[in-house]
């Protein structure tokens, strides 16, 4: 049988009573907790100060009378000021560290009903931190009676043990992850796991987050949802400031990011706070961070580490406390290796890195996202559009098939839905609309993919199939130059410009004609 050990303060007020039999009509928590039929206290570690020695004697005697099973182990703990948090916490911590706990053989209950509020708070904190390896014990009197026994209950601070609380936590977390997914019932396991992790990191960490993934994978949308989730949980107050670094060019970059003082340069007619300042107490999302110059990277690093930076033309730092979310579609490691991205900034960003898979890698999520895009269209246009069954099946079969590259990811899907919806004035997308859209998508992806040349039109499918990829790239370039040139000579000059500069070749036009002839092509074939 495991022994039960109670640790608690002697209550200098609550445990005190008149001397005499009337004390048994009063609820005295330290005595009362030894009077319950359903709680057997084998040892009671009673903490008290020197001024309360006599009360402790009296209480210990009464405990012996009502509970012969209980050994009272008295422990003198003197506080200069029992309301001083630092002192009380320190002394209780020393006590807890020196006490020989044996959780294998004993269950510990920490009685928090007696003592100063500061004492109770310290007991709570030390129990929560497992310095006291037990549960909290709370006792209370029965209302309206002179009952000496009262009531007791324990509180296990491991909240996962409480079904209703655990259920609510789970529901809350599910709500948050659903929030991050914009309510889309995604089924891709890797993506869902990533969202679960982001949910935890977003709510527990203020460190920078790095979202990697191809363009259109939803980095920007996810960054905004992370911000909104943090704002709902009162973790940020400020704004969500979003900027695509690829759009920042030249001299204006520094000023756009870090602001400037009036008169810092020509045209600086007024103070400009800059994006970092605007994101104070909020979230700054720097998309395509790999596009930033090295100087800007250095400034960003300092702003993240010190929460301070120097606006253009200013003499003193300004402060801004923001959480940074960075997005990139490049492999930053490659850029670090080539010296285009600062290693120290990368190290700072690389703590929480999440790689968003492209839509083609999330085939099982295409159907729920299709519904989401239809909803968005309806919201935007005030016009609800639906598929007929056959059309939907045909579209999804194509969308999840090997032909569907989804190179632009969600951007492609959104555009595709918008086109189909727009071409279906009856509000119903039918098989014909889908077939037409499939043709459009095919064309889109052949044009943008690695093989996106137009050699098929020039050579015909059979001759193209016979062509080595090695030659195809070169030929495609040559054909493109020819099409952009007004004459064979002009095309030849451009294609052989290096030889021409060395005067190694004089008849560029002839050289080009011979090259084209190897593929059975003539200049006229390449003119519109």
């Amino acid at each position: 049988m495991k022994a039960t050990v109670v640790i608690g303060f002697l209550g200098s007020t609550l445990d005190a009573s008149k001397i005499g039999p009337s004390r048994w009509s009063k609820w005295r928590p330290s005595v009362a907790l030894c009077m319950h039929e359903d709680l057997r206290v084998d040892r009671f570690v009673l903490l008290h100060g020197t001024p309360h020695l006599r009360l402790a004697d009296y209480v210990a005697e009464d405990i012996a009378s009502v509970s012969p099973e209980t050994t009272v182990e008295r422990h003198v703990l003197d506080f200069r000021d029992p309301w001083d948090f630092e002192e009380v916490y320190g002394k209780l911590l020393d006590f807890a560290r020196s006490y020989r706990f044996d959780p294998e053989a004993e269950d510990y209950l920490v009685h928090i009903t007696t003592g100063t509020h500061v004492g109770q708070i310290c007991l709570f904190l030390l129990t929560e931190a497992h310095y006291f390896p037990g549960k909290l014990l709370q006792t209370q009197p029965r209302r309206g009676t002179a009952d000496a026994v009262g009531m007791w209950n324990t509180i296990d601070l491991d909240l996962s043990r409480y079904d209703s609380i655990a259920t609510r936590f789970a529901a809350h977390a599910a709500e948050s992850t659903s929030f991050l997914k914009s309510g889309i019932e995604t089924r891709n396991r890797a993506f869902n796991r990533m969202i679960d992790e982001i949910e935890q990191v977003a709510l527990r960490s203020k460190a920078p987050l790095l979202l990697m993934g191809p363009t259109g994978a939803g980095k920007s949308q996810l960054a905004r949802r992370i911000y909104e989730l943090k704002r709902l949980r009162h973790q940020v107050k400020g704004a969500f400031v979003e900027v695509n670094c690829a759009t920042l060019r030249g001299d204006g970059t520094m000023s756009a990011l870090f602001g400037h003082r009036k008169g810092a340069f020509t045209g600086a007619a007024a103070d400009r706070p800059g994006l970092l300042r605007s994101a104070d107490t909020g979230v700054l999302f720097l998309d395509e961070i790999g596009e930033l110059g090295l100087d800007e990277q250095a400034m960003i690093l300092r702003a993240v580490e010190d929460k301070r930076f120097l606006p253009v033309g200013a003499d003193t730092d300004v402060a801004s406390d923001f959480q940074l979310i960075a997005g990139t579609n490049r492999r930053l490691t490659d850029q670090v290796a080539s010296g285009a991205f600062r290693e120290d900034l990368f190290a700072r960003l690389n703590l929480w890195t999440f790689e968003l898979p492209g839509l083609a890698e999330r085939q099982e999520d295409i159907a729920p996202n299709l519904d989401y895009e239809l909803d968005r269209f309806a919201e935007r246009e005030g016009n609800r559009v639906t598929f007929n069954k056959e059309a939907r099946e045909a579209y999804l079969a194509f969308a999840t098939g090997p032909e569907a590259l989804w190179t632009g990811n969600f951007r492609d899907l959104a555009a595709s839905v918008t086109r189909m919806a727009t071409f279906s004035p009856g509000g119903r997308i039918d098989r014909a609309s889908v077939d037409a859209e499939i043709v459009r998508l095919r064309k889109l992806w052949t044009a943008t993919s690695g093989e996106g040349d137009d050699l098929e039109a020039v050579l015909g499918i059979d001759r193209l199939a016979a062509l080595d990829p090695f030659d195809r790239v070169q030929l495609a370039y040559v054909v493109a130059i020819c099409r952009a040139s007004r004459s064979l000579s002009e095309a030849g000059r451009r294609l052989f410009s290096a030889s021409r500069a060395r005067k190694a070749s004089s008849n560029d036009a002839d050289r080009l004609r011979k090259y084209l002839a190897r593929f059975g092509l003539a200049w006229s074939d390449l003119q519109p």
Binding site: M1, K2, T4, G20, P21, S22, W24, S25, C34, M35, H36, E37, D38, L39, R40, D62, S65, V66, S67, P68, E69, T145, A146, D147, A148, V149
Partner: protein
């Protein structure tokens, strides 16, 4: 191994105590599932743990699952060792209930024993000391053994701290028939009062006299005990006959009027006196076990309680002997071991 469902019958601690006593006497192990399954707070309470620990101590027994709140226990008896024992039971626990657990086994031991029991002696949830000393033990001693009970210090609920001493000289239990109570041989009504105003005792006494008009005035008395034993107040009504004495009690409680407590107790003793039965309901409970161990016996009683029927069914499980309760005209019911 005997398997008992603790929620059957009366569904309380009596099942546990009776089973422990019978197991030690018969050497038969038992398991109880759903311990005290019939109660609001099921499982073993402190006083049951103490009682089982006492049974383990005198009978070199082991008990699995023994802890407060436990709902299943397995008890394996050993050899009963007579000697000197001291058991202390906490606040609401009664010394009488610990005695009930260990007395029958110690009567089977091969030597005398001396027990010191500390805890409650006057507790509303259990028979008071006077009931054991004056109603139950005289009949038990009549069956052969010699059991002597002394009250050293009163222990009232909730503070406990009482003390009784028991001397036990074993002898084989002989069957007896207890059909006639004999001629009236006196009565007494006493209020024991400690640490409370005397006026409460007086009110209780007055109410008791109103309910027992045929009792002579000198039978009524108040015993004021030292205040430090209190608070506590109990009315003890004792009706003696040539062959049996019954004791009924009424405990004063916070929130209940002294007059109401005394009135109920007076009605109960008057009802017993008018019935013609040998044993009242509490005494009937206590007689079942020793008579069954004696191998025979009978007595008349009022309507058998659920407690009595539960005890009888546990006895049947261990001993294979059945108590039959039949209506018996004026005396009420007749209980007979068949």
């Amino acid at each position: 191994m005997i398997i008992i469902d603790g929620s059957e019958g009366e569904g309380g601690g009596q099942v546990v105590r009776t089973a422990c006593a019978l197991s030690l006497v018969t050497g038969e192990p038992f398991r109880i599932a759903n311990v005290r399954g019939g109660r609001d707070r099921p499982g073993l309470m402190r006083q049951h743990v103490t009682a089982i620990e006492a049974a383990c101590a005198i009978g070199t027994a082991t008990c699995e699952g023994l802890s407060v709140g436990s709902s299943e226990i397995a008890f394996r008896p050993g050899r009963i060792v007579p000697g000197e024992y001291q058991f202390a039971v906490g606040t609401a626990g009664s010394t009488a209930l610990v005695l009930q657990t260990v007395l029958m086994p110690l009567l089977r031991a091969d030597g005398p024993s001396r027990l010191v029991l500390e805890g409650g002696t006057h507790n509303p949830q259990a028979p008071p000391f006077e009931f054991l000393a004056r109603a139950f033990l005289p009949i038990l001693n009549h069956m052969g053994p010699k059991v002597c009970l002394r009250l050293v210090r009163h222990g009232f609920y909730p503070r406990g701290g009482g003390r009784i001493e028991v001397d036990i000289t074993p002898a084989p239990l002989e069957p007896i028939a207890c059909r006639e109570r004999g001629a009236p041989a006196g009565c007494s009504a006493r209020v024991l009062l400690a640490g409370l105003p005397l006026s409460i005792g007086e009110r209780m006494m007055t109410a008791a006299r109103k309910g027992l008009v045929d009792w002579p005035a000198p039978a009524f008395a108040i015993d004021e005990l030292p205040a430090d034993l209190g608070p506590g107040i109990v009315l003890l009504l004792e009706r003696a006959f040539d062959h049996v004495t019954e004791v009924m009690s009424g405990f004063g409680r916070m929130g209940e009027r002294a007059e109401a407590v005394a009135g109920t107790a007076a009605r109960r003793i008057a009802g017993y006196a008018a019935s013609g039965a040998f044993a009242g309901p509490y005494l009937a409970d206590q007689l079942l076990l020793p008579m069954a161990l004696a191998g025979g016996g009978s007595f008349t009683t009022v309507t058998p309680s659920k407690h009595s029927r539960t005890a009888a069914s546990i006895i049947e499980r261990f001993l294979g002997r059945r108590w039959s309760f039949t209506e018996d005209g004026e005396a009420g019911h007749r209980a007979e071991l068949v």
